[in-house]
């Protein structure tokens, strides 16, 4: 590592986002009876991860774009490569910032302190493991390690979702766990078949070897992988599990799930489409899937009466935008999709956090029970309003820029399915505006309605302390995320620059492949092994 120390810095940082949270998870588990020590450890660990990820993004973007190490110093074909390129580091930065903010929020809410009835404080270790799993999935350079990353984050998410084990959460958790297990098994089958066809699971090597495989076999592998990732990303025909399971969890848990878990699926789809199966065998299929996801999702949202469920449906709907960008397969489309993922992670998480604040303040998230919140708590109203119009894509905000980028890319492609998709995108955007306006009108603006569907409120709301003061510790992280969401608009130029370069790297593919294959074989054994 002599002489080129500057160039090698990202390689040193690479394992940090995975190793540090795992290590901290072990520590917090050992210190289960000391809540204050737990808090200090997890906040410190995640803060360091944020710093490391930002450093990695800057260095990767300034440097040659891709860095790889082979874990344990094995030759690259045998070992597990960790790869950081512009796409994965950008995802890491956004996800780590969001993870940290949600952790701070949940500390103030007291989910972490075992108020939900857990015997030992299991929240911190699980949350850290979730963060490690997400990072592992983003950094993984081979299919099987990607599977392991998915399993780490899913296992943690099962526990977070059923925290406390109340009836509603067990019911919601069951659906979620069984569906997720099924998707993992589909993914595992795909890995077995990929190995049988090519003899490797290394993504870089696969990108070369898969081209020699019979096209029909390629198609089968491609579709199997897409089905597996599609369930995780909640793409339309495979998305029915999401609105049933997310809303019952505690607010911060739903927020982090909404922000991150589906995006890991989207990330995997982007990788598969660009690295493993370039040339868009499935692009027309993906286009129709994207259109259906956008429209069906948003129509579901419009029909909802509960803010959490409504937001879950908008989450499904907006996954469609990202798939749209991937399906176009052009640099502009991919760039738009990458930008949109970054924007959507922040905004969707913020909205769920604000809904958590509303639930705590008013005791319910049902639109029938809420009313005139804007008069009673103007701060909450502002906190909801900004990310809401951001999600709907009102001009000055990043949601608008992301959507315009995607629509522009669609118009540039100019084939009729692409134009239909553009129209669908505009329609979805308008319906999103309608959905959030409905929430705004009924929860924040109008007087509460007299008649309240009691069963509905009892079935969905899980709030305990009605009318208590909202703790500052919950408001500050939420405000910070709202500000981050607005800041994305301010730095949209540089961010689009990064996502453009990321898209070009993805379409080119050779820097990724070359770096990974060289990374382990030439010098990995001597410098990374120790």
């Amino acid at each position: 590592m002599t002489g080129t120390a500057w160039d090698d810095w990202p390689r040193v940082l690479l394992p940090l986002p995975v190793v540090l949270p795992l290590f901290a998870a072990g520590l917090t588990l050992a210190l289960a009876r000391r809540p204050r020590a737990q808090r200090t450890i997890s906040v410190t660990a995640l803060s360091v991860v944020v710093v490391a990820c930002v450093a990695m993004l800057v260095l990767t973007d300034r440097g040659n774009g891709t860095y790889a190490i082979s874990v344990g110093g094995w030759p690259s074909r045998l070992g597990i490569p960790l790869v950081a390129d512009r796409l994965s580091t950008l995802m890491l930065v956004v996800s780590s910032v969001v993870t940290l903010a949600v952790l701070l929020y949940s500390l103030a809410q007291g989910v972490a302190d075992g108020e939900e009835g857990t015997p030992i404080s299991i929240y911190h270790p699980t949350y850290l493991v979730l963060s490690a799993g997400v990072s592992n999935a983003f950094l993984s350079g081979d299919l099987f390690n990607l599977y392991v990353g998915f399993e780490i984050l899913l296992a943690a998410s099962y526990i977070l979702l059923t925290l406390g084990g109340t009836g509603a959460r067990v019911r919601a958790g069951t659906t979620y766990v069984v569906v997720s297990l099924l998707s993992s098994l589909v993914f595992l089958t795909a890995i077995a078949l990929v190995y049988a066809a090519t003899g490797t699971v290394n993504l870089a090597e696969l990108s070369v070897r898969l081209r020699e495989v019979d096209p029909d076999v390629q198609l089968v592998l491609h579709l199997l992988l897409l089905v597996g990732f599609g369930i995780k990303a909640a793409v339309f025909p495979l998305s029915a599990w999401l609105p049933d399971s997310y809303p019952t969890a505690p607010a911060p848990v739903t927020a982090v799930f909404a922000g991150l878990l589906t995006k890991v699926g989207v990330y995997a789809i982007i990788r598969t489409e660009t690295l493993l199966f370039p040339g868009g065998q499935a692009s027309s299929l993906l286009m129709w899937v994207a259109l259906a996801t956008m429209l069906v999702g948003i129509l579901g949202a419009v029909a909802q009466n509960d803010v959490k469920r409504l937001l879950s449906f908008t989450l499904v709907s907006h996954i469609g935008y990202m798939v749209f960008g991937v399906a176009l397969g052009t640099a502009a489309g991919l760039s738009g999709a990458v930008f949109y993922v970054a924007h959507h992670i922040t905004v969707q998480t913020t909205l769920f956090l604000v809904t958590g604040l509303v639930e705590r303040y008013a005791g319910s998230t049902s639109l029938d029970a809420l009313g005139s919140l804007a008069k009673r708590t103007p701060l909450l109203a502002v906190l909801f309003f900004v990310p809401a119009v951001n999600l709907a894509g009102i001009p000055p905000f990043s949601g608008f820029l992301g959507k315009v980028g995607l629509l522009q890319a669609g118009v540039d492609v100019g084939t009729w399915p692409a134009l239909v998709l553009v129209a669908g995108g505009v329609l979805t955007s308008l319906l999103t505006l309608y959905a959030v306006t409905k929430v705004w009108n009924r929860a924040f603006w109008q007087e509460p309605q007299e008649q309240v569907d009691r069963d509905h409120v009892a079935g969905l709301a899980t709030a305990t302390r009605i009318g208590t003061r909202t703790p500052l510790g919950m408001v500050v992280p939420t405000t910070a995320l709202v500000v981050v969401g607005v800041a994305i608009t301010v730095v949209a130029g540089p961010l689009f620059g990064v996502s453009d370069r990321a898209a070009h790297d993805l379409l080119d593919g050779t820097p990724y492949t070359a770096t990974v294959l060289r990374g382990g074989a030439a010098d990995g054994a001597t410098e990374v092994g120790s």
């Binding site: 045998l78 099987f144 392991v148 399993e151 296992a155 099962y158 526990i159 059923t162 084990g165 009836g167 509603a168 067990v170 019911r171 958790g173 069951t174 659906t175 766990v177 069984v178 297990l181 099924l182 993992s184 098994l185 595992l188 089958t189 890995i191 077995a192 078949l193 190995y195 049988a196 003899g199 699971v201 609105p243 049933d244 419009v302 029909a303 909802q304 009466n305 469920r309 029938d368 409905k438 008649q451 569907d453 069963d455 509905h456 079935g459 969905l460």
Partner: protein, 145 residues
């Protein structure tokens, strides 16, 4: 190389049984389904790893070509460990469900039940704006609340 037919058949039968059980309403059967399904996929990995080889260390003179491929076996091992953990978790979930409800059937979603109730009472959704009410008041009575 042609794959071992016995292994392929075993994998197929295990997966078929697993899928059938996964479609059951009882969580216990779902668990058995998951176990069968994942075992079927593990057998698939064995098919993927190619022909069986000789022991690498014991017989001394085994060359690399004579050994079986170790990589899929490492993957299967990881997959088995992961599935074990997940099955343990779902078992706990089934037990908790039995503790709370007295059975471990997967229940319908809150929303689904609400829709069914509304349908039984012949009611429209609350977000449905009935703007015909003023013009045809008498007819509207029967449908809306």
């Amino acid at each position: 190389m042609s794959p071992n037919l016995t292994l392929v058949v075993i994998a197929g039968v295990l997966v078929a049984c697993g899928v059938t059980l996964l479609l059951e309403r009882t969580l216990t059967r779902v668990i058995v389904g998951i176990v069968l399904l994942s075992n079927g996929i593990n057998v698939l990995f064995l098919v993927a790893s190619g022909r069986p080889g000789q022991a690498p260390f014991v017989t001394g003179g085994t060359t690399a070509e004579q050994m079986s491929d170790p990589l899929p076996q490492a993957m299967v091992l990881t997959a088995i460990v992961i599935t074990l953990g997940m099955v343990a978790f779902v078992l706990a979930l089934a037990y908790r469900s039995w503790q709370i409800d007295g059975h471990d059937e997967v229940q319908d979603d809150v929303e689904d039940r609400r829709i069914v109730r509304r349908a039984e009472r012949d009611e429209t959704s609350a977000s449905y704006d009935d703007d015909t009410r003023e013009t045809s008041d008498e007819e509207g009575e029967g449908v809306s609340r």
